[in-house]
Symmetry: C2
């Protein structure tokens, strides 16, 4: 089973993929678009996408891409994010003059970074990619903020651990694949819909779930391109497709929604 | 009247500030944080923040900063975004090898950029800042995507106009300032609240507005740091503070919300 992810080996997305499917073969890809393409072309069985971090918020690009493609959400996984400061063996903490990482990771280590003097902080496209660069370019006065796994992959030393400002730093990922490839019995469903632009429309939409006692665990809105100040709403429901409450609520919503699509129904992540 | 904005002279935020307050003196600042600081220290009367683009979506950083500071939203303005390709006088379109701009602007001109061959596209922190760089570093084989005004400010030539993929490319901005400095009679109110983590909580929150016929024009959610998968909800209401419906709805919400704050009540933007 092959799972495509965005980033270099040692990326948090790769760790999340292995958490969900321990014996998976992981396929690094440069961009989120290439993760979709890998699954669509069947180079990969599944793709793994970060969708939300408990500190930084949603990864909106992936919400947009799910609507532009036909692949479904077939699984979910959470990963605790623990950032380490990585450098070439022999580099001392005192000699680090530049620190590289992804902007989200840098933002999550703000307190640590602010405590440093005379160090340049440089944003890159990737956490593990920063570790790779330090290894490949043999940067003796630089360090990367990345995962413990990235240290192992690129043979770097961990100078400092647990750099993140908040202990409860979790990222939630979705596994994407063909519609009929859910990795277990579904008890969670994600839908996207648009509504007529009239007062009370969203309240009415949420009523189809509330009046059936269906819990809504996440609501996200994204602009509809070309129709300023109109939105697509993405909703996570704590109920699986096939449950009559879910099916009736979705039929009820379709009575007045302008558009409605089920992005996937899948087993919610549970900590082992 | 001085209005601080993030960016270089010629930035879209500066144009928006002048659209709202034509005789304002504009104060460029490096970051959104520095815009808040300028108003808090009274170096500026107001600050102007981009809050949402009709193609790219919300500028979440500014939602977060509003909660971290005590300044209020005191006005609103919209600006149609029209991107131009700017270069030094004498540079021909055929000779452009690099194009610089802010990632949001680059994303909004995707179709145009994809039509080019052999040109590097480079993300920078600022549209007008890219124009400034081309002027200061005398880059004869490069161009910037920025506003018409940036062309005038940095004495650059417009090689191509209207690069944006969607004609309806609007950005909405908020004017921030001291609580009692609203720029007119309010008919719009923005609030932020958190809810008990129980089924139907958001539905119940929206009911306090729907049942009073108050239109909700925007709903945004952001994570609560340190409490994974709990959210702050930001809501724009088409009603001013002082209107009894608004005041009663907010009192009703406070009966069960965990926290509630009015970020501002201000005149909604109307195209002149």
């Amino acid at each position: 089973m092959r799972v495509a992810f965005q980033g270099e080996p040692g990326a948090y997305s790769e760790a999340a993929a292995l958490r969900l499917i321990p014996d998976a073969e992981t396929l690094p890809r440069g961009t989120f678009e290439e993760v979709f393409a890998a699954v669509e072309s069947e180079s990969a069985t599944y793709g793994l996408l970060p969708i939300e971090n408990s500190i930084g918020g949603s990864i909106h690009r992936n919400y947009d891409l799910l609507v532009e493609h036909t692949l479904s959400i077939v699984g979910e996984v959470e990963l605790r994010i623990q950032h380490q400061l990585l450098a070439l063996p022999g580099t001392q903490f005192e000699n680090v003059r530049r620190i590289y990482s992804h902007p989200q990771a840098l933002a999550q280590c703000e307190r640590f970074l602010r405590s440093l003097a005379g160090v340049d902080v440089i944003a890159t496209y990737d956490t593990a990619g920063s570790a790779k660069m330090i290894r490949e370019q043999q940067l003796h006065d630089a360090a990367a903020i990345a995962s413990e796994r990235a240290a192992a992959v690129f043979e770097l030393t961990i100078l400092r651990s647990g750099l993140e400002d908040f202990e409860d730093n979790l990222t939630r990922f979705w596994l994407i694949g063909p519609h009929d490839m859910a990795i277990g019995p579904p008890d969670k469903t994600t839908i996207v819909f648009s509504l007529p632009n009239e007062p009370g429309a969203l309240f009415k939409a949420l009523s189809v779930f509330a009046l059936r006692g269906i819990d809504l665990t996440k609501l996200e809105s994204r602009p509809i391109r070309g129709r300023p100040w109109e939105y697509l709403f993405y909703v996570d429901l704590a109920v699986g497709q096939g449950d009559p409450r879910c099916d009736r609520a979705l039929a009820h919503l379709a009575e007045f929604a302008h558009s409605e699509r089920i992005l996937g129904s899948y087993p919610a992540w549970r900590e082992p």
